[in-house]
């Protein structure tokens, strides 16, 4: 009896505890807003004095929204490229760190009114300021930007019209560093990113021309229009009472243009998004333009898959060649060289290939400035060489000793034993796992987008951002990878069964 009484007491206590907890949450409602702190100041950055806290003008705008809603702002870290998808699936209420106003976003999500106006500006090395006043003088030269942005779309247009070479980045810091290093001749990005970057990277200057005007907005899930409308009211109120101006002045991003923008917003002139695709309009027209947009991206997807296959093949050839050298070295050499080769294999296998690519491309850039494709090829090739060498080493050691002795008694030299007997037999053992590795390499090649190589996955991401959906690009991308890898997987399976039945 005592025990069951105790249990009942505990249960009651627990119930109240939970109730109390739930009540607490109820009492302090939050506005969960998503942004990417990697974007840095003045948007969102980790506070240097307390890295668990974020600060920036986007942070303060979000706080104003929360305050107006009677809630507490709560920051959710999300990768910049995933903000749209993340808010759509309900990870947070609103996404807003330098999110651009584009037709696909307006179509796919609920978007707030623009709260900040920016300009796409060109940054060049100071000595080039007079040489490259605009795109026409940049023919055949490399211009970098953040992929899947308005600036990127603008550069693609310049590529068609002026023959520049577009280089896409996954972040907005490395383009400016590469500009200083001479890997690029110009960078096109939002004026506040450019202003921040020329403060950080010496020797650069921003050209005065505005190539395109854009706006930052907040994005909410499609069905979340009620909250969006309340937030719009709050934004207008904060524009009217000068709160936004105070925030922008504090973060040093206030200008006469901004004053005009706020005035026109209050006058009711809803800023139209720039025409990234072929513009918004009637639903039918939108539908048609969507198909046109998809059709427009198919050639670039095919082109990107050529990059993927070329890069994979070249890397695999390199990996096989170096893998054979490492494996034979580890099997035949002794002492010091064996230790070196073993260390190479362990280090390469034990560290992420992403890190190796970064080190090769950015880390070594002060010593040797590798072109992006070459760095990608070397990175993947040297990485896979470590895995290949282990396959070959295992295969070489699996060839029965008797086979080698039989070859020796016939008078073959050690080199001939290797090239005529051990090598060919090991190759048969290695062929199936090698084919599997090649399929893996094909997919790992998507990592090289971090060093500006636009391959299939990256192109798909750009595609998806521009049409505002992952469904069609995702399916197309998957189909292309399967077309490339399925024959190889079949080949691996075939070889496996063939060699297995052979050895029986």
């Amino acid at each position: 009896m005592y025990i069951s009484h105790d249990v009942r007491l505990t249960a009651v206590a627990l119930f109240f505890c939970i109730l109390n907890f739930a009540f607490c949450i109820q009492a302090q409602p939050v506005l969960r807003w998503g942004g990417d702190a990697e974007g840095g100041a003045p948007f969102v950055e980790a506070d240097p004095s307390n890295p668990s806290v974020v600060r920036g003008f986007d942070v303060e705008v979000a706080e104003q929204m929360a305050k107006g809603l009677g809630r507490k702002a709560q920051f959710v870290q999300v990768a910049f490229a995933s903000i749209d998808q993340s808010v759509a699936r309900g990870d947070f209420d609103i996404g807003m760190s330098g999110v651009e106003d584009t037709p696909p976003r307006r179509a796919m999500l609920s978007t707030t009114i623009p709260y900040y106006e920016f300009h796409e500006v060109l940054t060049v090395r100071r000595e080039d300021a007079s040489r490259f006043p605009d795109f026409s003088k940049l023919r055949g030269r490399k211009v970098g930007t953040l992929s899947a942005t308005i600036a990127y779309e603008r550069l693609l247009r310049a590529e068609r019209e002026n023959g520049i070479v577009v280089v896409s980045y996954d972040d907005d810091v490395h383009p400016y560093e590469d500009l200083r290093e001479g890997r690029l001749d110009a960078v096109l990005l939002d004026n506040i990113i450019a202003a921040r970057s020329v403060r950080r990277v010496p020797g650069l200057t921003i050209l005065p021309t505005n190539f395109q005007t854009g706006h930052y907005i907040g994005v909410l899930a499609k069905e979340n229009t009620a909250l969006r409308d309340r937030i719009n009211d709050i934004l207008r109120a904060r524009m009217r009472d000068g709160t936004l101006e105070r925030i922008y002045r504090k973060w040093n991003i206030w200008s006469d243009d901004e004053a005009a923008f706020i005035q026109s917003s209050l006058d009711g002139a809803a800023a139209a998004p720039p025409r990234a695709g072929e513009g918004a309009g009637a639903t039918q027209k939108q539908q048609a333009s969507k198909f046109a947009l998809i059709a427009r991206y198919i050639p670039s997807l095919l082109e990107a898959s050529v990059i993927t296959i070329a890069l994979s093949c070249a890397s695999m050839v390199l990996a096989i060649f170096i893998g054979i050298l490492i494996a034979s070295g580890r099997v035949y050499a002794s002492g010091f060289s064996r230790v070196i080769l073993t260390a190479y294999v362990e280090i390469v296998r034990g560290t992420p290939v992403l890190l190796q690519l970064f080190v090769l491309y950015y880390g070594l850039s002060s010593v040797i400035r590798l072109p992006a494709f070459l760095a990608a090829l070397l990175g993947l090739g040297l990485n896979y060489a470590a895995y290949e060498s282990e396959i070959y080493r295992g295969a070489l050691e699996a060839v029965p000793r008797g086979q080698l002795e039989a070859a020796r008694t016939l008078g073959l030299t050690e080199m001939q034993v290797f090239s005529l007997v051990r090598g060919p037999q090991a190759f048969r053992l290695a062929l199936a796992p090698m084919t599997n590795d090649f399929v893996a390499l094909l997919k790992d090649s998507s990592l090289v987008s971090v060093i500006t190589v636009v391959e299939l996955t990256k192109q798909t991401q750009i595609f998806a951002t521009n049409i505002g959906s992952w469904v069609v690009p995702g399916l197309l991308c998957a189909a292309l990878y399967l077309i490339l890898s399925l024959p190889l997987a079949r080949l691996a399976g075939y070889l496996e069964t063939k060699w297995r039945s052979d050895s029986e």
Partner: protein
């Protein structure tokens, strides 16, 4: 004497495998090495083939002398022109056809033209009764066929001395007799054969001499009919107990 083995000693760790083995073999002889398992028969063949370094003594085949420890590459190269070896498990090269197994050494080591090497290989395979299997891979051959291809492969380099490790082990009696006749044929042009075997009938029938080994020493040797009919040593007696 084409083969001269003198006071051969070999230890692995604390175990003495060969404790002072001496024997010689003349041209055209078929010498049977017999003894219980672990007696050192196979090790003797492996040391003569320079697959196994030894601790003491000398091995002299056709004037090429192996000494204890590592021998010069050139010495080993010269020796292998003198000695061929057929392994118990044949060790045919899995990735090559029967014909290519036989022509590999002539084309790659002796640099004989491929057509010449092939016609000679076909003559050999034919004389051993496996010419029709020339395009078969080792995995497709029966044990007896594989053995005959392995003999052809060693014969292709035409060594004056041919060693066979337990060639009778996996053959039925009829096949053993056939093999014996084949081996005797090989001695007719002056070739010396060293054959390890457990089969005393085979030795009695085909060997010109028998050497009985026990625990790394020669305990008895001589005419096979005499030694095997009237054994003196307990090791020989044990060997003949069936």
């Amino acid at each position: 004497m084409i083969v001269n083995v003198n006071d051969l000693r070999l230890s692995r760790g604390r175990r003495e495998i060969l404790r002072g083995v001496s024997f010689a073999a003349d041209r055209g002889e078929l010498v049977a090495l017999m003894g219980l398992s672990g007696g050192g028969k196979t090790t003797i063949l492996r040391t003569i083939a320079a697959l196994e370094p030894f601790d003491k003594g000398t091995v002299d085949v056709g004037g090429v002398v192996l000494r204890p420890g590592a021998n010069a590459r050139q010495t080993i190269r010269d020796l292998r022109k003198q000695v061929g070896m057929v392994f118990q498990l044949h060790y045919l090269f899995d990735h090559l056809t029967a014909l290519d197994n036989v022509t590999l050494a002539p084309t790659r080591v002796a640099h004989v033209a491929r057509t010449d090497a092939e016609s000679r290989a076909m003559t050999l395979l034919d004389s051993l009764g496996v010419a029709h299997r020339r395009n078969a891979y080792p995995r497709e051959l029966s044990g007896g066929e594989a053995q005959r291809v392995a003999i052809a492969r060693s014969m292709a380099m035409d060594p004056p001395v041919l060693m066979l490790d337990e060639p009778t082990a996996s053959l039925d009696p009829a096949r053993r007799y056939e093999l014996g006749e084949t081996l005797v044929k090989l001695t007719k042009d002056g070739r010396t054969l060293l054959v390890t075997t457990h089969d005393d009938d085979f030795a009695r029938e085909f060997a010109t001499r028998v050497i009985i080994l026990a625990e790394g020493e020669i305990v008895e040797h001589g005419d096979p009919k005499e030694v095997l009919t009237n054994p003196q040593n307990p090791a020989t007696k044990a060997l003949l107990q069936k």
